[in-house]
Assembly symmetry: C2
Homo-oligomer: 442 residues x 2
């Protein structure tokens, strides 16, 4: 599998570099631990960890090239000594993190980094961006899957994502949560995700007659075609699709399905189902698309729409109802001293931490406890695992299908009320006694 392009160390806020320079010139070299977590927000009951593979790949390859150093020199902000130091710089820290696909909650560290302060500081922007955006999209994907009643979902968002790697991250993160495919060909190539697509209205419009457009397509893709039937009038379009579907049957092929992209999808899907069934095309699926997200999918299915699969686009690919996470990277320990931040509304839990999860007798999550890294909590499993030691990967990246399994296990263990896409419920996350003591010592 080819990796996407490397992001590199200039993908950073300038202050990471100026702070590093201040540490460097003042010879501050002590070890620091930073904790990366999402501050709780009413619009999400849970989050799905994603992006770790990309994050670790970037840490492994974190390298100021000559070109990067030349640019930094030209800013006239940095001493030659410091730029020389950067040119030799590699990330050699220790990292613990939740595996991708883990369901987690506000305030719980998803990752903690321990390294000399400069190393830990220089990777902040990169880690926040990668883990934040992937987690954002995986969480949105999980919400969609939750309401889809087993109907396959396909990511159609690429044209309106906020950039190229947003598109890749949406495709991969929603696939982790169980999406069936993506329209994003690059994601297919880079991650090995199944790609899928139908046809556009423009295609149908270029033919004199709608039925000619269908026949021409069926000729080229006889075993993999979904006709878009709403370019002119949906019911007439369905009848033509059915006719071509029957012709395909006679030639030993099978119409995969039709797509509805506008109008009253509940009523239309029922009528189209009848037309297809009456034509002996009971196996032909009805795909729906057009402004769909978890809220629309839930509505359509509750109203009895006869839709078999959904293409979700813009609203999912930009996580439109909550387009960012309050994800932060906070210093929690420095030079063997635990650190708290006290700014109003921005408190941070000091100390190197672990998150412990307890399941009830039915295997449903009952409580998470944030504790100290080295403690153990009865009947609870730790969620953070070592993923990097002294800058080296502890193990190979898991395969996407294993990440999918991890997500499924996690999501199945999440109580129903926390899966709600409408109501806000705060999962119980408490602090261990030892962690509380550390906070009071300050």
């Amino acid at each position: 599998m080819q990796k996407p392009h490397r992001i590199g160390p200039l993908f950073t806020d300038l202050y990471e570099l100026t702070m590093a320079a201040a540490y460097f010139q003042n010879n501050v070299q002590a070890k620091a631990t930073f904790s990366l977590f999402v501050r709780p927000n009413e619009n999400r009951n849970f989050y799905v960890a994603a992006g770790l593979e990309t994050a670790l790949d970037e840490l492994s390859a974190f390298d100021f090239t000559d070109i990067a150093c030349d640019y930094l020199k030209k800013t006239n902000l940095f001493s030659d000594n410091f730029i020389q130091f950067l040119s030799q710089f590699r990330f050699r820290g220790d990292v613990v993190a939740m595996p991708e696909g883990t369901v987690f909650f506000g305030d719980e560290p998803v990752m903690e980094i321990t390294a000399p302060i400069i190393e830990a500081q220089l990777v902040e922007t990169l880690l926040l961006n990668i883990l934040g955006s992937n987690t954002l999209f995986a969480t949105k994907g999980a919400r969609c899957l939750h309401v889809s009643q087993g109907c396959p979902l396909v990511d159609f968002s690429l044209r309106r994502t906020q950039g190229q790697d947003a598109g890749l991250r949406v495709a991969r993160s929603t696939y982790i949560t169980g999406f069936a495919a993506t329209s994003n060909v690059q994601a297919g190539k880079v991650f090995g995700i199944p790609v899928s697509g139908t046809m556009a209205h423009s295609y149908v419009s270029t033919f004199e007659n709608e039925i000619d457009a269908f026949r021409a397509y069926a000729d080229v893709f006889p075993d993999d075609v979904v006709f878009l039937i709403d370019t002119y009038e949906t019911i007439a379009g369905a009848q033509k699709a059915a006719r071509v579907g029957q012709e395909m049957n006679q030639q030993g092929h099978m119409l995969k399905g039709v797509r509805l992209d506008s109008g009253d999808l509940v009523a239309l899907s029922k009528q189209v189902r009848e037309i297809l069934d009456a034509a002996g095309l009971a196996n032909a699926l009805i795909f729906a698309s057009g402004g769909l997200d978890e809220f629309e999918i839930e509505k359509l299915l509750k109203k009895g729409a006869r839709i078999d699969a959904f293409g979700v686009g813009t609203a999912v690919g930009t996580s439109a109802d909550a387009p960012n996470l309050d994800i932060v990277y906070k210093l929690v320990r420095f030079n063997n001293r635990n650190i708290r931040k006290l700014s109003p509304g921005k408190q941070t839990l000091a100390g190197e931490k672990q998150v412990f999860r307890k399941l009830d007798a039915q295997g449903i999550m009952s409580v998470d406890t944030i504790g100290l890294r080295d403690e153990s909590i009865a009947d609870s499993q730790p969620l953070l695992a070592p993923v990097m030691r002294r800058g080296e990967l502890v193990q190979d990246h898991p395969r996407l299908r294993d990440i999918q399994k991890n997500f499924k296990l996690n999501f199945n263990a999440l109580g129903d009320r926390y899966k709600s896409i409408h109501e806000s419920h705060r999962f119980p996350v408490c602090l261990s006694e030892k962690l509380k003591q550390v906070q009071e010592v300050q």
Copy 2:
């Protein structure tokens, strides 16, 4: 200036390729014109065109590499003939577009592409994504600038943008509209945008005393330092900053300013201003940051905050109140025949078009008319200019500073009511008689 990495032709929805294959196998080669526009939406009165340079660079370099072709072969969807065709493929179409920085409105084409149907189809996803996301961010930037009363704005969004190129696009697009700088070092390198930054709370926390943190930083950056003063208690922080500012004065340097990142910014900024002034540091600026966007900036300034410059982050870098545009790419002419799309709510204006802008006697925009490409409208200026002919750039890309000028000219000519960030006002966009006739012919 080094360009960002090339995006490439696999950055596409699969159906662009399957439609292209259907055209190829059915020998459909006629010329098509597609129109790229934003459907009107109540949450934005105007848009700022951005992203053209990136879009044209991608069109110029649109090239299916061997690696790309190998992947497509492995999908088993495409014939060898078609893949052979792709391996030779270059974009050789004609493009007209609004220059970057142009203020435009819903339904107005920002770009029109004329090329053999396959060529025009294959670039759809790429163009929508690039022009859409850049325009989204430029528009958000313009709204922030509008309420900032001349205070410099700095883009601090990188850590929470929806990916790496989102970060680059936010930096460039907000710079076009007049932002002073970005924290994004990569954007500095790639686009030559000024970079800026202060320090983080973590930095201050690593020192035993806040004042030591300030002194250590001032030692390294004596002529370019902004102290973050809210790590512990803002007023005490301001007093320490003032003390170090006085020490810097004695050594012939000048404190650039202080930053507030939490708390009641109105009250705190007034108190901090007094502290700085009393210490003889009237030139030291007060920066504010922390969850700011156009709505917060307007509120702070209306309440009399003594803030000199704003760092805007997450909400701007994800255009949080409107995180996507309903941007579309529609077939409007094919094989010398004008094409309309009639799906409910998705109507399209047929024909190759031009947008004509009329200013009133005071130089304020009074009405835009969408007409046919080859007509002329009295007292009105056309907004779409040829930018590519047969795949070749018509002229060099404008410099960023010229794009900034174009935006400024445009924005100055926009009536005040349309600049409102609260009220929805629909700028008058009408259709020429000739364009109307074309619609009726169908």
